[in-house]
């Protein structure tokens, strides 16, 4: 429970404040698009961080593999990033 306290606190804050945030009458501002893109980038950044972590560990164990691992690393990053960009499409449609 102690480990999950920050996460639960953020979730409670979001739930309590979201109603008021979406009821704002800001002319031209778009909260939905911001939240969509923000959540997508959260998951995408974590995924790309894990890919980079795997790459660094592999290169540090075997420095000669750096040349062979270079291209698949960038391809993997592109796949993860494309999932964030699906959310960008949704954010622009809102």
């Amino acid at each position: 429970m102690k480990k999950w306290t920050p996460v639960l606190a953020v979730m409670a804050a979001l739930l309590l404040m979201s109603g008021e945030a979406l009821a704002q009458d800001g002319g031209g501002s778009n909260v939905g698009a911001g939240i969509t893109m923000g959540l997508a980038v959260l998951g995408g950044a974590l995924g790309q961080g894990m890919a980079a972590k795997g790459m660094y560990e592999a290169v540090s164990r075997n420095p000669q593999a750096a040349g062979a691992l270079n291209a698949p690393f960038y391809v993997g990053l592109a796949f993860i990033e494309s999932l964030c960009l699906f959310a960008l499409v949704v954010a622009f449609s809102i």
Binding site: Y74, A78, S82, F86, V89
Partner: protein, 265 residues
């Protein structure tokens, strides 16, 4: 997504036809409230086509001239970087990409399509880096065409080589799950061209928009460092599109089940 902007091709009134028609009130909007794709996108696509075809023709003529040399000199490579050497390096690179996934006869069958796709997408994406040009791939229409082409290619190969095993593969491993597996697999088959399209469109569109927004905030000429990232994204997205097409072709080909491998060696 239909991005618009300035382009050198829009100075020609014949190419800027859609903007002129909108100003004269003759445009029929079939998507209410949305922008439509403008006609100058096609001029950029044709420019990319002409660049690819021009380079290919120059490389081919240079190769023909080189193979007409006498004796052992026929097999020498040229020493400087001309179109023939670049085309040879490019062809070796594309074949290296396909080598793990397809066997030799299939590489020769699909090489024109994959190599042409990669070169066309590459030169389309790279047009966005030059001031005054727009990448035609930031418009969804260009990418839908290419993704439908890839969709038709891998379905045609699957159905023409062995239609029964292609459909049976979609039904999953066990027979009594087929009522559930078949719709799921068909949906995942349909989502492949959609994801190819949206990946390329959103990458190019988002890249360009980030550059535009940063240029509004920062002084003139400061965001030029982003062009390095844009180059990398352009090349990588062209590579990812063609690599995914090769992977989908590999998945559609009739491959042996696990039971056959015991007999092979």
């Amino acid at each position: 997504m239909f991005a618009a902007g300035f382009s050198w091709f829009r100075l020609i009134p014949a190419i800027d036809r859609d903007t002129i028609m909108e100003q004269m009130g003759l445009m029929q909007h079939w998507l209410e409230g949305h922008e439509v794709a403008h006609s100058y996108v096609y001029a950029h696509a044709w420019l990319a086509c002409f660049i690819v075809l021009g380079l290919a023709m120059v490389a081919r003529m240079s190769l023909s001239k080189a193979t007409q040399r006498q004796g052992l000199e026929k097999y020498f490579a040229s020493e400087s970087l001309d179109a023939r050497t670049a085309a040879e390096v490019y062809a070796t690179g594309i074949q290296g990409m396909m080598k793990d996934l397809l066997d030799r006869k299939d590489i020769q069958t699909f090489f024109p399509y994959i190599a042409g796709l990669f070169a066309y997408i590459l030169f389309c994406n790279l047009q966005g880096l030059f001031p005054g040009f727009l990448p035609p791939t930031d418009n969804i229409n260009t990418n839908v065409g290419m993704a439908l082409g890839s969709f038709l290619v891998f379905n045609y190969i699957g159905l023409s080589r062995d239609a029964v095993s292609y459909v049976k593969h979609l039904m999953g491993p066990v027979l009594f799950l087929a009522w559930f597996m078949l719709p799921v697999e068909v949906i995942s088959l349909m989502i492949r061209p959609i994801s190819l399209t949206i990946r390329l469109t959103a990458n190019m569109f988002g890249d360009h928009q980030v550059f535009v927004l940063l240029s509004e905030q920062l002084p003139y000429g400061v965001p030029t460092g982003l062009l390095a990232l844009a180059t990398m994204v352009s090349v990588i997205q062209a590579f990812v599109f063609s690599l995914l097409t090769v992977i989908y072709i590999n998945l559609s080909l009739p491959h042996h089940d696990h039971g056959d491998e015991a007999h092979a060696h």
